[in-house]
Structures are given as C-alpha cells and as structure tokens.
C-alpha cells in the first residue's frame, strides 16, 4: 500500500507544474484542432511551428524584446508557416498531409538557421509570466494564471469569431468546399487564413514554453503533434464536439486532462521512453473506436479529408 500512496503523493506534488505546462501546450492542441475540425485540413505544420515559435521568441528575448512582444513576433512567424502549408496545398494541389510534412521538415532547417545553433538559453530575461502582481515570479502559479487567462481570452474571441459572418463562412469551407465556393466564399482566403491562424497558435505555444523553461531547442517540437492529437481526442470525448462552444473547449479541457494522465503514468513508474508508444496506441484506439462499435453493421463512412 505504501507504493500506492507514494505514487499518489508524487503525482499530487506535480499537479501545479503539470497544469502550468498543459495550459501552455493547450495552444498547440488548439492549433491542431482548428484546421482539422473546422477546415477539414489535417495540418502537420504544428510540429514545426511549435519550435519555430520557440526559436523566434528566444531570439526576440535575447535581442531585448519584452515577453509579450516576443510572443507576437512568434505568432507572426507561425502564421507565415501555416499559410505556406495552405498555399502549397492550394496552388500545387499537394495532399494536405504531405504539404504539412514538407513544411515541418523545412522548418527544422529554418529553425537551426535562425538560431545558428541547436539551442539558445534565455534564462533570466524578463518574461510574460513576470507581470502578475502578488505572485512570486517563476512559481508555477504565475504561469497558470497567465497561460490560463490567455487561453480564456483566445477561447472567447474564437467563440465570437466563429459566429460572425466570416467565421461561419470559414466553417462552410471545411464542411463542403464546393458549396462554400458556390456561395461566393473564397476557398483560398479561408484556408490560408485558417491554417495560418492555427500555425500562429502553435507558435504561441512554443513561445510560451520557451519563456517558461528559459531556453529554446530545435528539437522541442518532436512528439508535440501526437501528444496534441491525444489531448484533442480526450477533450472531444469529454466535452463533445456538437457545438462550436464545445469544439473550441475540447483542446483546453483535453490538454489539461491528458498531461495529468501522463504525469500519473510517469509517477506510477512507466518508463518515459515508452510514452510515445503509449500515446500512439491511445490515439489509435480513440480513432478506431467508432469502427469497432459498428463492426456488425455496415462499414461507417471513412473520415472525409481534403486531399
């Protein structure tokens, strides 16, 4: 019994740190969800946009920029990366997944070029987490407050946006591109804008992560995509995706729950090296579940994805 109580106390001790981390990473889950669910565009750019945001943020911080400005610069870089993926898909008719892989691979070199080396320490520079009053800087609570408020603001803004005329048009492009075009909606504008926005959120996540951990590393993106997908699946299983409000809440709820689960597994003694296998199997199971449920009936329609 003692081991169980040790596991639990280890886990509980890590809850605040994990929560801070998951709130920061919820932005990349949002960056994965947006194109996937609203534009029907599975976008792999996030795995490259995340370290891109981190690298750009670290460079800005090293250059003396304040924390918030570094994040804005990172967002702009992420938007550019996302819109490049969308452009490659639209202009050259390259499959969405392949366009994302191309962009992600190229971004690795770009990130190395930008930083000039594989990692850059920005420890000690002022960050966005310093500005919270009455809290000791560096303590996870300030990260929870800042990342949480930022997440809440983004959630509310997106919620409003997807109810506007333009937001409705963007969702129509994901739902039925031919119909959207026939209603006068530009597929190009909606796709480039939407995937770009997602890239901006992924980059925000990377920038926040760099400010939180005090350094940027070109390899910080490895595995973020599959983690993000797992978090999204959990979030959608918990809050659903029937309405805009639920669909937008799923990345945040999913990220918070997923990283606590990971923390619990690690506290229970799972070797960290097995984490990706476990996450991959989990995502596979979540995606396979609908087909298993109806195995006796007719095969359900395959997930329609833009090609």
């Amino acid at each position: 019994m003692e081991t169980v109580s040790t596991i639990i106390s280890n886990f509980i001790a890590l809850v605040p740190v994990t929560l801070a981390q998951s709130l920061i990473l919820s932005f990349i889950v949002l960056g994965i969800m947006l194109p996937f669910r609203t534009l029907n565009f599975p976008d792999l750019t996030s795995e490259g946009a995340f370290p891109l945001g981190g690298c750009v943020c670290a460079l800005s911080l090293a250059g003396g920029a304040p924390g918030w400005l570094a994040i804005l610069v990172a967002m702009a870089a992420g938007f550019l990366a996302g819109s490049c993926t969308a452009f490659v898909h639209l202009r050259f008719r390259i499959h969405t997944l392949l366009a994302g892989i191309l962009m992600m691979t190229m971004l690795y070199s770009i990130n190395l070029r930008l930083m000039g080396k594989s990692n850059l320490s920005v420890y000690g520079t002022p960050t966005i987490f310093d500005g919270v009053p009455f809290l000791e800087p560096g303590f996870p609570v300030s990260k929870i407050v800042v990342a949480g408020l930022l997440g809440l603001a983004v959630y509310c803004l997106l919620n409003l946006y997807f109810r506007t005329e333009r937001g409705t048009a963007m969702r129509a492009v994901g739902s039925n591109p031919d119909m959207a075009e026939a209603q006068g909606i530009s597929i190009w504008a909606a796709t480039i804008g939407g995937v770009g926005l997602a890239g901006a959120f992924s980059a925000t996540s990377g920038a926040l992560m760099v400010q939180s951990q005090g350094f940027a590393d070109v390899n910080m993106g490895i595995g973020t995509l599959i983690n993000g997908l797992a978090a999204l699946m959990i979030g959608e299983a918990i809050v659903g995706k029937q309405t805009i409000r639920r669909q937008l809440a799923a990345p945040f709820v999913g990220a918070i729950v997923y990283y606590q689960l990971v923390s619990l597994c690690l506290a229970a003694g799972m070797p960290p090296t097995d984490l990706k296998l476990a996450t991959g199997l989990f995502v596979l199971a979540m995606l396979a579940l609908p087909t298993l449920k109806r195995s006796r009936g007719p095969m359900p329609a395959r997930e329609a994805i833009r090609e």
Binding site: Y161, R163, T164, E165, R166, G167, T168, A169, R171, A172, G174, S175, N176, D178, M179, A180, E181, A182, Q183, G184, I185, S186, I187
Partner: protein, 259 residues
Amino acid sequence: MLEIRSARKVFYKGQPDEKIALNDLSLTLPSGNFAIVIGSNGAGKSSMLNAISGALMLDSGKILINGNDVTALPVHKRASRVARVFQDPMKGTAASMTVAENMLLAELRGKKLGLSRGLNAKRVASYRDRLAALNLGLENRLDTRVELLSGGQRQSLSLIMATCDQPDLLLLDEHTAALDPRTADIVMQATVRAVEAFNLTTLMVTHNMQHAVDFGHSVVMLDAGAIRLEITGAEKAEVTIPKLIGHFGMKTDRMLLAS
C-alpha cells in the same frame, strides 16, 4: 439575361480520347425566361452549366450575365449572380452545419462578409418564415444539422437557399432526379412558385420529359456540345412528349423509359 457566345471546351485535347464537350455553343436566355434543357447523356448539359457557374473554364467563347462578361471569373466571384441547385442533395448544403447557418450562407452569397454576428434574431425569424412556406416542418428544425435531414428536405432547403435573394440566374441541374416521386413533386412545385414569384431567369436540366412539357417558357435541346433545337412561344405551349422524343433521333429508348 444570359448570353453564351460560341463557347468551346475540349477535354484531353490532342490525345486519342479527345472529347469536345462544348462545340461553339451559343445560347441567349432573356431575363425572366424559364428554359428547360434536355439532351442525352454526354450531350454537354452539365458542361454548359459548369461553364456558366464557373466550375469549367472555356477554351474560347464568352459568357455574359446581364451584359457583364463573367468568362474569366472563378466560381466564388460569380456567386453574387448565379445560384445553383445540384442533382445530389449533399452537394448544395453544408452537412455539418445547421439549417439556419446554411440559410445564412445563402443570404450572404456573393456579399462582402463582415465581423458582425452572423445569425441574429432578425435573420433567424426571416428564415423561419421562408422555410414555413415549404410545409416540410423545416421551420422548427433551424438548429438541426443538415446531415440529419432527409434527401428531400435537403433538396428543398437547397432550393430555398438558391432562390432566397433573387439571383440573376438560377441553374437547376436535374435537381429532382434523386428524389422519390412525391418529394420530387413538392420540390418542383416550390421551384415553380419561386421562379414565378421572383420572375427568375432559369435554366433547368432534366431527363423528365413530362417536366419539359409542363414547365418553362422554352425547351432547349443539346446534342454533341451544341444546341440542336430550341422550342419557344406558341410551339412550346403545344409540345408533347412524343414530339420531344422524336427529336432525340436514334437515342430514344432511354428517354422513353425515363418518361
């Protein structure tokens, strides 16, 4: 008014399987005219409609809508003038969005989109009124996702969406072909009501010879990518199914079955 001037489109040009889809096709449809387009499979009906809507770019020739040259405009830039209802009920609506959201998309067709709230109370109320006219109960299902509606309901919705803000040109692409006879009848009646109420310039493709006889001001028959026959005015009023089928020449069997 729609004018097509010697429209030409060749697929697989210069290859062994070259296919002339539109062979210098010319057609003038005066404003307020409701024309029925008939012709056997492969005659170029769909190519003509695609060329008008912008889904198919012409090799040569011109397309003018109300005097404006739209030949070079992509689909989304013609949307303010042209509305279209497809044969497949899935094509004309956004399945994962609600009935009201689909109506909103139709209302905004070709307009400049803003950042104001899309579905406001005033709009929702007007959609309810418009849908009530169909007598399909859609007015009570404004928040239902369209994928949960039946094919007939979806097609009726597509029709209401296409006609709601009185397009310069309405294209109906065998829009009742996929429906059961009763629903097809409801959709056809709604079509005629809308076309007459707004005096819409309309092109309706159909394989149903009875529809060709019963509806419209003129009948246009396509063959091998060109207009083979145009029946208008008094002659149209007296046309019968056997007369129409007679014009199909050799290819009558399918048409007889279809009628």
